[in-house]
Symmetry: C2
DNA sequence: GTGAAAGCGCTAACAT
DNA sequence: ATGTTAGCGCTTTCAC
């Protein structure tokens, strides 16, 4: 133990001295913006490794002048919907982060593959510095990812993903497990003989329905633990609110023994008023939307399986921006966010 | 819409110009380190308000030279215990935050009021820039708080608090609600005629037991929803591990109808091996300790009511340090952290 | 291909 | 009581 081991954090300056170059050169190597000899590169990288250098983020943020254009290729939304929360998280992250981020939204219609193609094309034309996206149209996303790989534009998946692509990051839940958890909570109090699964008309027969993994988790859990329980599906149409109650009432007449209802999308709130009039029915939903919280508060819904949507978006943007800025990929490529169980008693 | 409304964030420089003083003076006013006239002060504060100024945290962190000594007056702990997680959170926050924080630990024995008094006296002698503390010995804490108020040393409560004191911040749970939630989860599957409440010998008759509010929440919930259910208490002694199982077995012989067990402290893990041999018994515990998670994983415990302990500590230190540094008190004095419900299916 | 130097916005010691 | 100034560690332009 000598005085010398007062751990002093290495700076670009130390790296420069160690590598026998100037700070400017160090920076060029670290950010890969060309114009350095392979030899210097090696010396710099070696020094970085030896001294365990990593940039001081405060200094980096402070001095960054270049604004980074981040393209966000995500589903369009109305206020109060799931993707509105993601959008808000992204915007807040941009404001709070202090990197010089300029987000550009490319919002496509989830039911319209052409709208996705349009957005993707515009995005590519705009040549952003990075892309954040999710997966609705799987094949299209794969196609796009190849192009981004070629052009060396980094991208991150949020909320869901395609495995095996060149994305730098994924932040999201494990949808299959969330489905299982929902099924568990629904069947906690008693063993139902029949269960109603409420789905959105839009998703009927849609190929690449992004809710499929969660639904599968739900069904698998029921199948395993309650092999004799029948799960019946009813479709409702969010775009025709007045048709929802009749649809549900009709369903109940067909299946009068159903005492357990679930959605595997984020729209249990659409069922809330029906549930209010059928207090004997247990219900479980997903996602931390204000409307869903209200349904929970009102006692229509027993449990909500969710995650901090806005925080998830913030984390994604934060990790992505940091990687873009430092050039160092995130320590973990996949960030699975924690699943929360929400009940009247642990609201807020 | 003119070119001029390109929203440019105001800096100290803008404030200085606006108030007709220099940047140094602005800084003195903002950080209240004396030597300015009431008149200048008014002009500066006015300018701050008018321009909606708030310091750029990156720049502040980067340029801060003074190290702030933060005294942490908390219970002593062994590895793996609740307060070890708090401690870790504090240390990580100090490392990550980038303010120039120097934490000093004053760890007292929760069972020994004199040890608390000692720590408090040493702390006062050391004249820290800020204090983070929790409440075990209520009257002593009140006494200390008065002195801190006098000396204008800011302090923050973590994990629990005394209301009505001059603390700048509280970060913690709502213990009463957490107790209710635990009782709810314990009685979810069926309506028990008898419940066993496992307590720590140390707390027997201890005045100012910090677990009391949570226990009360637990008991009130049972009293309200299951008025005919008897709650029996059994004390175990963590310092004599070999005595725990016999104590529990003895308890079960006295109360053979007990099928539901809970602790309202963080030590359900002490009951785990007993529970393993009595698979018919439901159990609920509190707090996100590794040992408790293990018990959950092993199926000994049904649910854990908890919060992100480490994150809570980080948040506390973060908000506190930011306030100390900017001089602006936190927007909300009380930060109640979210209560998590943990089950085998949403572990990690 | 590389180095020098001017900031980013704030802090705090040092003048006055 | 107030102003001046030298950094904090990094980015980026400009010259060589």
């Amino acid at each position: 133990m000598t005085m010398a081991d007062t751990k002093t954090i290495p700076t670009v300056y130390d790296i420069a001295r160690e590598a026998g170059v100037s700070r400017g050169t160090v920076d060029r190597v670290l950010h890969r913006r060309g114009r350095f000899s392979p030899d210097t590169e090696a010396r710099v990288l070696d020094a970085v490794k030896r001294l365990g250098y990593s940039a001081n983020l405060n200094a980096a943020k402070l001095s960054t002048r270049k604004t980074r254009n981040i393209a966000c290729l995500l589903p369009s939304f109305s206020e109060g919907e799931y993707w509105a929360y993601i959008n808000r998280g992204i915007m807040e992250a941009v404001d709070e982060l202090g990197f010089n981020l300029a987000p550009a939204m490319y919002l496509y219609d989830q039911t319209d593959i052409d709208s996705f193609r349009d957005c993707a094309a515009r995005l590519l034309e705009d040549a952003p510095d990075g892309v954040i996206l999710n997966v609705v149209f799987r094949e299209e996303v794969i196609r796009l990812s190849k192009i981004l790989d070629e052009r060396r534009i980094p991208y991150a998946f949020i909320d869901n993903k395609v495995d095996g692509l060149g994305n730098m990051l994924y932040v999201g839940i494990d949808p299959y497990r969330s489905g299982q958890l929902g099924a568990f909570l629904l069947t906690l109090q008693d063993c139902p003989s029949e269960i109603g699964l409420v789905r959105i008309l839009r998703d009927k027969g849609r190929k690449g329905d992004p809710n499929e993994p969660r639904r599968q988790g739900f069904l698998d859990y029921i199948g395993t633990h309650f092999p004799d329980t029948a799960v019946h599906t009813v479709f409702i149409d969010p775009s025709a609110p007045e048709s929802i109650e009749p649809a549900l009432e009709g369903f109940m007449q067909e299946h009068p023994d159903v005492r357990h209802l679930a959605t595997t999308n984020s729209r249990i709130h659409l069922v809330a008023s029906f549930l209010k009039r059928h207090p004997g029915i247990h219900a479980v939903g997903f996602d931390h939307l204000d409307r869903n919280l209200q349904a929970l508060k009102d006692g229509c819904v027993d449990f909500l399986v969710t995650h901090r949507i806005k925080d998830m978006a913030k984390e994604c943007m934060g990790l992505f921006a940091e990687s873009l800025s430092t050039g160092v990929p995130p320590s973990e490529k996949n960030h699975f966010v924690h699943l929360d169980i929400l009940h009247r008693l642990n609201l807020e």
